[in-house]
Symmetry: C3
Subunit: 200 residues, 3 copies
């Protein structure tokens, strides 16, 4: 179940990488690399920071297959990809929900402070996009708009608050994931952004 | 004592991150991230390279609190921050002095060559600013001007030279730190830069 | 023998870094850093991802000496460096051949999947140039043109295919290296590029 969601998230992230690389007129190899780092970049940073090496995607070849297949698919059907935009957005949102929780769990296993665990979860979910933007020579989109990381952080806080209550870990896990997903969906639907601090 | 200086340095680095992120019109989340990476980026790279994981700031939550508090403070009082410019410059300079020595000491503990230790010290002191500039899509300022890294390197050389003499380690430590700080202060005061190699 | 080639590759990579940094009008320190990361960046990423720390160049000071000497040499004789362009291209090409194989071998020793080993080899050979371009605020050249990574990948595939046959490992090693070098030389000579996917 978790694994399926993880794969869906990986697909969505990989395809989002392909789309950005297209806009930058990268060649085939560049596109594959951007797809790859978008999908695994966050988890890689997390594994490096906590010292869990070789990093995850090196130990499970499935990710590589999924990413390459998704990227090739996105390249071939690139003129049709707009029809999938809503599905991709959903996959992506579900992906960040799950990635956040994977990061938090890894932090807990490494016996880190809850705040650090939430940071790890947020990184897992968002850093792939940051690397994608750096490699494409853009200021990372996550630093300029969108309730993205905020959704991960809220989900992480939910996780640790509910964990204090007598609720089963599995259920806490699901609720926290739903908080991430719902926050993002609502923010996008109602165009909610972080408060603008430049004009007052 | 060292810990206090470390915290002062962290504050100065975090605030310098906030100021750069402001100029790039980043949102609240982007500003916090830039503050964070500016403050801990150098130490994180050092820890990753020598394999000392989880990296330092993950093991001591104090840094997170200090950085977040400094950043929020800088955001709220941003119109007043100019009055603090001299204090911040001093904190920053003291910070690089200390960060350099922390990096060198970690290198020695990992039994690395003195040159590598000096490189680690310089990285600890300067790499946070490099990541800050990359994330803001600028050529890192350290590569274009300012006696910054040079000060770290001179301090590092001083450390290893004095260590050959019969002087107590603590005193060597203090003198090397003073060399870093004095070099930077004098360079800024007298506008000393590296020799220009482009026009001759 | 391998060590000599490794050093030649390091020299070529370091000088290529100096030339790029020149174009960006970096100061002396910036130039040295770019030379350094171009030469050791790929191996550093590889070592971090598989958890082999402290990373290679920290354990063998020779690399540091070679890189600094090459960089100083390139800075002093920068007006003459054009005469060496062909030699440098050859060193660089031989360098990526060897770096690819070093990466693959490290992956095998870490018991990783052949595809991951090939990825490690390609990274070792190409990532230094990627970091160089990111630090210089360019979209990495490897993502936009040139059969560079493709040569590494072909060499990697050759290695694993031949390893199935009853051929001595040393000979497989040499043949795979020749495939990398020949692919790159032929691609540059005949201006072969990856298929353009933008105009059809």
């Amino acid at each position: 179940m978790f694994y399926t969601i993880d794969i869906l998230g990986t697909i969505a992230f990989a395809i989002s990488g392909v789309l950005v690389a297209f806009n930058k007129k990268m060649d085939l190899f560049g596109i594959l690399i951007i797809a790859f780092v978008t999908a695994v970049g966050g988890g890689t940073l997390r594994d490096l920071l906590i010292g869990d090496t070789p990093v995850s995607w090196m130990r499970d070849i499935t990710y590589t297959y999924v990413i390459l297949t998704s990227a090739v698919f996105a390249i071939i059907f690139r003129s049709k990809i707009n029809y999938l935009r809503t599905s991709l957005f959903l996959f992506d949102t579900i992906g960040i929900g799950l990635y956040t929780l994977v990061g938090i769990e890894k932090g807990i296993n490494a016996e880190l402070h809850p705040i650090i665990c939430i940071a790890l979860g947020t990184m897992t979910a968002s850093f792939g996009g940051v690397i994608r933007d750096i490699l494409c020579n853009e200021i990372p989109v996550i630093f300029r708009k969108e309730i993205y990381a905020t959704a991960c952080i809220l989900g992480g806080i939910t996780y640790f608050l509910l964990n204090e209550l007598p609720i089963k870990t599995n259920i806490v896990f699901v609720i926290a994931g739903i908080v991430v997903i719902a926050t993002r969906l609502l923010a996008v639907k109602f165009k909610i952004a972080l408060p603008n601090i430049y004009k007052e």
